[in-house]
């Protein structure tokens, strides 16, 4: 099982469906052995990028390379790419092991060799006892494991995962994503993972690319993406964010909840007196009990932290997260004072 990782490169790839830009000037490099996730709402172009790399979608502009080799003239069935689909991709007329062996069968590998290889892979995904079951006799999670084994059996240079967990229950999903990560890093295969679930993306990726309307807005390590979002969309899509009405005081400072704060570098340009929205994460608030001011409306215990829903007179409640220990002192109906503990805040135009 020693697959060396390949380098994948998208350079200025464009794809339109009618008038809709599914991918707009998309560039991305996946380093050998790296797991890169494309994250975004449905219709953002993430699946299009994956299908272009797989060779299923051929009508695009720009260049796609694997290990420096241009893929434009290589048909899908010659690209040697392993692919796991959302669901229902197993051939229903074949058993689990026959499914896994299929890629080797079409390559003309003799039956004994392909069977031992298929068993090896079923073992890797923990399904060696289910080898002779048909897809309908397997649970959803098991089916996706078989699909993963099938994709890896051909020793692909790149692994593509197209929302492989989206059809599964929450518990199975969490378990299987850890396992995918374990197998991927053991083999060291370069992987492109596509999902709309940010928790999933953050949990298993080396780097996450956030996409919106065909544009790759930011690609970074998960922590950086969360703490240093470069666009309002990324800030809003990754993690929970409050959008608070605010007014700018100058080009570089903004008044939020009567507190003067610096505007972060990646915010759009503003002039004095603009009405904007400030994006503040729940954990950036400090909450103190007071005799008057904002009112606590909801209180939900989330384990180590507790989330408070606070009415400050804006149309929406503001959500603040404080440690559960601190939260013991505060109850719904209490008055509190809110302060924002942040060096620089991101703003967006209303």
């Amino acid at each position: 099982m020693d697959l060396h990782g390949s380098t994948v490169e998208f350079r200025n790839v464009k794809r339109t469906f009618g008038t809709v830009k599914a991918l707009d000037d998309f560039s991305l490099t996946i380093k050998p052995g790296e797991l890169v996730t494309l994250l975004g709402p449905s219709g953002c172009g993430k699946t299009t990028a994956l299908r272009i790399l797989a060779g299923i979608d051929k009508e695009h502009e720009g260049i796609v390379e694997i290990d420096g080799k241009d893929m434009s003239q290589v048909p899908a069935n010659k690209r040697n790419i392993g692919m796991v689909f959302q669901a229902y991709s197993l051939f229903p007329n074949m058993t689990a092991i026959e499914n896994v062996a299929y890629g080797l069968r079409v390559r003309g590998v003799d039956s004994r060799k392909r069977e031992s290889r298929a068993r090896e892979l079923l073992d890797l995904v923990g399904l060696s006892t289910q080898a002779d079951r048909r897809p309908t006799q397997l649970s959803g999670g098991q089916q996706q494991r078989v699909a993963l084994a099938r994709a890896l059996a051909i020793e692909p240079s790149v692994l593509l995962l197209d929302e492989p967990l989206s059809a599964l229950d929450a518990q199975v999903r969490a378990q299987l994503r850890e396992e995918i990560r374990r197998i991927q890093s053991t083999i060291g295969i370069s992987t492109l993972f596509v999902t709309h679930d940010q928790e999933e993306a953050m949990a298993i990726s080396d780097r996450v690319g956030v996409m919106n309307k065909g544009v790759l807005e930011q690609i970074d390590e998960p922590g950086k993406l969360y703490n240093k979002p470069r666009t309002p969309f990324v800030a809003g899509f990754v993690g929970l964010t409050n959008y608070i009405p605010a007014v700018t005081e100058s080009k570089s400072s903004v008044l939020v909840l009567s507190q003067s704060l610096e505007i972060s570098d990646h915010s759009p340009a503003v002039k004095k007196g603009d009405e904007v929205r400030a994006l503040i994460r729940p954990e950036e608030f400090e909450v103190q009990k007071a005799d008057e001011g904002a009112t606590v409306i909801t209180k939900s215990f989330l384990g180590p932290v507790t989330r408070l829903g606070i009415d400050v007179g804006t149309p929406d409640l503001i959500y603040a997260e404080i440690t559960s220990k601190e939260a013991k002192k505060i109850d719904t109906g209490d008055f509190v004072r809110l302060s924002i503990n942040s060096d620089a805040v991101m703003i967006e135009h209303v």
């Binding site: 797989a54 069935n77 692919m83 007329n93």
Partner: protein, 303 residues
């Protein structure tokens, strides 16, 4: 998972049957009472008539038990009728099965209005039959028919130049296609709708060619559904009466027509119960075909 499958599967499992057998006392279940009207109705209007045919078919005209009436089915005119019906059902199964499957293949790709029109048209056409259908074909493909004339004057093809006649075997086959092909479209559509684009794409990404996809995936997946649909076509053509009666004028030996004749009093003396044996012959053929159909259905459901 397996247990859940067993529970939802329509065929009772061996375990289930075993437990019911191990309770020796038959306990009357009151909830059966609600089904009494249905039982009585079907008992009197379906099972009783069938039982009467069975009883009549194993008695000769002197009320002696005999199987000779069934023996007769294998000789003379009776055998010709069964052979004729088999031939017609078989040919119409092949032609309509293949044509219907091809049409289905294209129809499931359509969407919107085209899809609605084709699917409701199939439902309507499959239920067309009898005398109106026969006369429609006479108007179209008869000696004076519009299509016959069109073929002759535009394409210089004399439909009646060869062995074709609307009233012979090939003519009836043509007419049968008119309701059998739509029937095939109706039965076969669900199987094609269950095909997944993911299978094509998985085959491609795994390095398979189009031909390999056909051979290893598409054909094995569709074959049981195709065969079971064909069996239904066979049964439908085998027992169709109205259209055959309107078309053939008795010129082609077919079991339903033969029975119709016997019912209408054209009975050979001493063989009054022969019609019952023929009717049972049809039921038996039909039973075999449906049993094979159910068996194939089980194979497809296991998937």
């Amino acid at each position: 998972m397996v247990i859940a499958d067993e529970l939802t599967s329509p065929i009772p499992t061996r375990g289930g049957r075993g437990t019911s057998r191990s309770t020796p006392k038959f306990k009357f279940d009151k909830s059966l009472l609600g089904l009494l009207p249905l039982f009585l109705f079907l008992g009197y209007f379906l099972l009783y008539p069938i039982a009467s045919i069975i009883s009549a078919s194993i008695h000769d005209n002197k009320h002696h038990l005999t199987l000779s009436l069934y023996g007769n089915l294998f000789s003379g005119n009776y055998r010709d009728a069964f052979t004729g019906s088999f031939k017609l059902a078989f040919y119409s199964m092949i032609v309509s099965g293949i044509a219907g499957a091809l049409i289905c293949w294209s129809v499931v790709k359509t969407t919107g209005v085209v899809r609605t029109i084709t699917s409701s048209a199939a439902g309507v056409l499959a239920n067309t039959g009898g005398v109106p259908l026969a006369f429609m074909f006479i108007a179209a493909f008869g000696q004076e028919g519009l299509i016959t004339k069109l073929l002759l004057h535009v394409f210089h093809w004399d439909l009646y130049g060869g062995s074709f006649d609307l009233y012979n075997f090939w003519g009836i086959l043509l007419v049968y296609c008119f309701f059998q092909i739509p029937l095939m479209v109706i039965i076969f559509t669900p199987a094609l709708e269950n095909l997944r684009v993911e299978w094509i794409e998985a085959n491609e990404s795994l390095g398979g060619t189009k031909f390999q996809y056909f051979r290893h995936v598409l054909i094995p997946v569709l074959l049981p559904s195709f065969l079971s649909a064909c069996l239904l076509l066979f049964a439908s053509a085998f027992s169709a009466f109205a259209t055959a009666a309107a078309m053939s004028n008795g010129s082609i030996p077919l079991v339903p027509l033969f029975i119709g004749n016997l019912v209408n009093g054209n009975v050979i003396a001493g063989q009054e119960n022969q019609g019952d044996a023929m009717a049972m012959g049809m039921v038996i053929v039909s039973l075999f075909v449906i049993a094979a159909y159910l068996l194939l259905l089980r194979v497809t459901r296991k998937r």
